[in-house]
């Protein structure tokens, strides 16, 4: 065995995050580490790399006992890691980030030119065409993710750990990553892969270890498992009627109109579009990363001002010039980058949930504490948020559970029109189904929702209508029985009639 972990235990105040966990990693294998949100995956990784101090347990690398006390020690041992939270510095250049800690030096000084060359060499094979001399902050989250991966790969002499590396990557980028991982596996590295995308687990990994509530449930060969068994291991029960995969019964209904956007657009963001939203309707927004999905949402929520057109409801024109105005108009928006934009790490779960509701009411009228507690308890239960209580700081929650809190915040505000950007990113299969069910529930009560998602299954399961975005234009609108994987993929990929016209 390349890496063996025996009886690893880690306790946080109020939680036993890891309870005598054993884990083996062979050279030349990709080993999936799976489990629900809060099962202890990231904690295991951080104990292994010295980011957390473990309470108990023995770690052996190549047969020798090791005990890294800091992440730099782990790096020196040949363990490269991409942590779940993007672990790069936006205020440094791409080259500085890539070579950090390993900068080429001459006479004790960093050799900038060699640093550049080294960084460019590290990025080779990822299909990125970027200037490594620019600040990291100039690039999108997906690119940053790839840079973090490239850095970890270069640091991993023996072991590569990837904690949800694919969360913000599109299909092509995932393929590139998998090619790199397979190459490393063939060179004899051991790779730990954490993901909530079970399809990716089956595609890439050789073995699977499942954690549940901080305990190891099982380690098996991936090929010996099927999806249902795997989910059972993770949840400890069968998943009753998985929502995904069961398409909504699409009946084109006549709904009373709630909102209408007319000729709504912004140069460089998204071309003007018309869109009506029915009461209680679920709209899906499909398209590739960077196609203009998120930009459309930002425009509707006033994060960027529209250059043309406007929005109106039954009672007249709406002011959507700023997020504050949009909230006042009854809009809500749970952004994709919930980690960066969404959470206030030091505030408690209760306070984070009450935040949007409070903003809507204005600061002069505080939400009574009892009401906040009631909301917190309600959503902790509904979304199955794993926390030691409503007063726990949100920063101490697992990544997926933080996401759930941010979703809860916007649902608790009870807007009439809610935009959800990738609502199930980083969320486990069980909660995934829970969230889709919740969407159906609140829309039945009259809320209208716009869901942006890269997972077509998800859109098909919940959406009444799907808008397809390509090259910053709304190119197609599918309703009723037109909503199938096939039609959506075709609308996203194939240059349709409108493009043919444009090229004439």
């Amino acid at each position: 065995m390349l890496l063996t972990i025996r009886s690893l235990t880690k306790t946080f105040p109020g939680t036993k995050a890891l309870d005598r966990v054993d884990f083996d990693l062979a050279a030349g294998e990709v080993h999936a580490l799976l489990g629900e949100n809060g099962a202890g995956k990231s904690t295991l990784i951080k104990c292994l790399t010295g980011a957390y101090e473990r309470d108990e347990g023995v770690i052996a690398l190549d047969g020798a006992t090791v005990s890294p006390r800091s992440t730099s020690e782990a790096q020196e041992l040949g363990i490269g890691t991409v942590y779940q939270e993007v672990n790069l510095l936006p205020n440094l250049t791409v080259a500085q980030n890539l070579t950090f800690g390993q900068e080429p030096t001459r006479f004790g000084m960093v050799d900038r030119r060699a640093q550049r060359r080294q960084a460019e060499a590290m990025l080779e094979g990822y299909g990125l065409d970027i200037d490594v001399g620019r600040d990291l902050s100039a690039y999108s989250v997906a690119i940053r993710q790839i840079i973090a991966i490239a850095r970890a790969v270069a640091l991993s002499g023996k072991v590569l750990i990837l904690d949800e590396p694919t969360a913000s990557l599109d299909a092509r980028e995932v393929e590139t990553l998998f090619d790199v991982v397979r190459g490393l596996r063939d060179r004899g590295l051991g790779i730990v892969f954490v993901s909530h995308f079970l399809d990716q687990v089956f595609e890439l990994t050789d073995r699977v270890t499942v954690l549940r509530n901080g305990q190891k449930v099982t380690t098996e060969r991936t090929a010996d498992l099927d999806r249902v068994q795997l989910i059972e291991h993770m949840l400890g029960r069968a998943l009753e009627n998985e929502v995904v995969g069961h398409a909504k019964t699409h009946v084109a209904q006549d709904r009373p109109e709630l909102l209408a956007f007319e000729n709504f657009g912004r140069r460089g963001h998204v071309e003007p579009f018309d869109l009506t939203v029915g009461e209680g309707e679920v709209l899906g927004l499909a398209g590739l990363l960077g196609s203009g999905r998120t930009e459309s949402a930002e425009l509707m929520f006033g994060l960027a001002a529209a250059h043309s057109g406007g929005a109106r409801d039954q009672s007249g024109a709406l002011d959507l010039s700023s997020p504050r105005a949009a909230i006042a108009a009854g809009f809500g928006f749970a952004p994709e980058e919930r980690k960066e934009d969404g959470i206030v790490a030091d505030l408690s779960v209760r306070e984070n949930i009450a935040l949007a509701l409070q903003a809507r009411r204005g600061w002069a009228r505080p939400v009574p504490r009892a009401e906040q507690l009631r909301l917190a308890d309600e959503y902790i239960e509904k979304l199955d948020i794993r926390t030691s209580g409503p007063e726990q700081p949100i920063g101490d929650l697992s990544g997926g559970n933080q996401q759930k809190v941010v979703l809860a915040r916007w649902l608790a505000m009870n807007p009439r029109f809610l935009i959800l950007d990738e609502p199930t990113r980083g969320i486990d299969v069980g909660a995934h189904a829970e969230i889709l069910r919740l969407i159906q529930q609140v829309t039945a009560q009259g809320m209208s929702i716009l869901v942006i998602s890269s997972e077509l299954d998800e859109l098909i399961a919940v959406a009444d209508r799907v808008i397809v975005v390509r090259d910053r234009r709304h190119v197609a609108e599918l309703t009723g029985s037109e909503i199938t994987t096939d039609t959506i993929v075709r609308a996203i990929a194939a240059p349709g009639r409108d493009q043919a016209e444009a090229s004439v």
Binding site: T71, Q75, L89, P90, G101, E103, V110, S137, E295
Partner: protein
């Protein structure tokens, strides 16, 4: 241009503009005499501001430096009066003491996870108190070696004097630039300023780096104390009160982000010179009260903080798009 360079460019532009205005009114200000004096008069401030830049880049602050400069002056004066050691030996001793003092503060900040503001505030009182314990009077320094140091200068064309302490300051800035921008230590400093949790995950040895940062600041404060003692030929426990704030102002005017993670040591030099220039102008004018220096520096600070806020907004908006 990289948006990171905007504050530095703004600093340099303001400095040049200020100088042009000065020269238009008083052509004599273009002379090497004024330049020489500008460097000499601000040598101690420039040196301590280099240390402060590194601290602020890491997201910290060091309020103790003004007191440490005063302590250094008193320490040197008393040692030379009472012990008979050669000044160079005293200098070496002093630098060890102030570096160790800074290192101790850094260790406290890291080990107790205390805000640097509090720890260095305590350090400020401690160093000032230690200076008082050595003496409560101004102690003149009377030593042949000091006369030598005082008279060491290079006569520039136009009769301007490039003094030893001015040169020491320029060299310190150069060293500071290399340390901050061209070493692994410097990269760790920027990393800490970008976010401690992330820096830790990237492999920064947070404890060691924090200790080194404050030790460096202590070293610079000690060096600044030596230069100040040469400049004034005395040690006085009440000297340089508030110099830490002036240094912070110079750093911010020099374009370093007060929250850490972005900035340039070279900008700090320009910040110091800008402040010195304003003072010189007021001396030349003769009718203006010296309070105008403070007012103009206050306005400049405000302008820079607004500029930084604006830039921050521009860059985050771009990253979000």
């Amino acid at each position: 241009m990289n948006p990171r360079l905007y504050p530095l460019a703004a600093t340099i532009a303001i400095f040049l503009l200020a100088w042009v205005i000065c020269v238009m009114q008083f052509p004599y200000m273009l002379s090497t005499r004024v330049v020489g004096n500008l460097l000499t008069d601000n040598a101690y401030l420039g040196i301590v501001a280099v240390g402060m830049t590194v601290v602020i880049l890491s997201g910290g602050i060091d309020l103790s430096v003004g007191s440490v400069i005063a302590f250094s002056g008193v320490f040197i004066a008393v040692m030379l009066r009472d012990s008979g050691l050669h000044p160079l030996v005293v200098f070496a001793l002093l630098l060890v003491v102030t570096s160790a003092f800074g290192a101790a503060m850094g260790w406290l900040i890291h080990a107790l996870a205390m805000p640097p503001f509090i720890v260095t505030l305590a350090g400020m009182f401690l160093a000032r108190g230690a200076a008082y314990m050595l003496t409560i009077d101004s102690v003149p320094i009377d030593h042949a070696f000091y006369d030598l140091l005082d008279d060491a200068y290079y006569l520039m064309p136009g009769k301007g004097r490039l003094t030893l302490i001015g040169v020491v300051m320029l060299l310190t800035v150069l060293v500071g630039m290399i340390v901050a921008h061209r070493t692994r230590f410097g990269a760790s400093v920027f990393a800490l300023g970008g976010g401690e949790a992330t820096a830790r995950l990237m492999g920064v040895k947070v404890g060691r780096t924090t200790v080194a940062i404050y030790a460096f600041s202590g070293l610079m404060a000690g060096l600044s104390g030596i230069v100040f003692s040469i400049y004034t030929s005395s040690g006085y426990p009440l000297a340089t009160v508030g110099t830490e704030l002036t240094a912070i102002a110079a750093v911010v005017i020099g374009g370093t982000l007060l929250t850490g993670g972005a900035g340039f040591v070279f900008g700090t030099l320009i910040g110091v010179l800008t402040m010195g220039l304003i003072q010189t102008y007021i001396v030349f004018d003769g009718t203006l009260s010296s309070w105008w220096t403070k007012i103009i520096i206050g306005l400049l600070l405000l302008a820079f903080i607004l500029l930084q806020k604006g830039l921050l907004r521009v860059t985050t908006a771009r990253a979000g798009a």
